[in-house]
Amino acid sequence: MARTLINIPPTARRGEVIEIRVTIGHPMETGFRPGDDGKILPRNIIQRFSCRYNSELIFSAEMFSAMAANPYISFFTTAQNTGTLALTWEGDGGFTQTENVTLTVTG
């Protein structure tokens, strides 16, 4: 399980546009870099990040080797009902990780 940093507002008003910031610890080995023996190290990157809000897909990112290590993404969504934000990262080597956070919506 990779370390993640997930930042959402503690509460939001219904209809408010909120920012979601996520970071995951991952080397994002490009597949273009030679190792100490001169041979190219195999690619090992996260290829996809997606966010589901109460099971509805609201945002996703298709990522390539040009994304920095320990990838950070910030995006916006409209607060609707109190519910779960499911944040999923998937990548090379069968890497998959989902973190669930509760978004509390008032009004």
Partner: protein
């Protein structure tokens, strides 16, 4: 003058291919790297014309380190069901691979603004392309200066 004519011709060709999904090969650029970049953008747009405007890349002109470059792309859009941004794609000019990232948004996004951190191998152009819900494409191109760190890490 020759370049200006070539660009105008290119735009007319692309404009005529809107909706047809035609892919126009662009062979008249003298810079191969920029040409690949133009081809990647054109592929993403399915040959449709890509207009300048609405999209804005926020990035340092001279980066501290090419390994970790913060970038924000925002698109001027009301983000309603009728009029919103569907995709934002970022392409580079001189990395080993043109693609950087492709974001998918939805009307519930509220705001068409994404921030991330990317790798830039060297000084080069970056292009952010947005596809709107009506099928149109807009882009913004920037030049970014990237230099090597002064003291590189040795072995061991």
């Amino acid at each position: 003058m020759t370049e200006l004519n070539a660009t105008t011709t290119r735009r007319r060709l692309l404009a005529s291919a809107v909706g047809a999904g035609a892919w126009v090969a662009l062979a008249d650029s003298t810079n191969a790297a920029t040409d690949d970049l133009t081809a990647a953008v054109s592929r993403f747009a399915g040959g449709a014309s890509v207009l300048k405007g609405r999209v804005k890349i926020d990035i340092a002109e001279l980066v501290d380190n090419g390994n970790v470059v913060p970038i924000t792309v925002s698109v001027d859009s009301p983000m309603t069901a009728a009029n919103h941004v569907r995709f934002i794609a970022v392409f580079n000019e001189k990395n080993p691979q043109r693609d950087v990232v492709r974001f998918s948004l939805s009307p519930s996004s509220g705001k068409a603004m994404v921030t991330t951190r990317i790798r830039l191998a060297t000084t080069q152009k970056l292009v952010a392309v947005a596809q709107l819900s009506d099928g149109s494409f807009f882009s913004h191109t920037v030049d970014v200066i990237v230099t090597l760190a002064a003291c590189l890490e040795g072995e061991g």
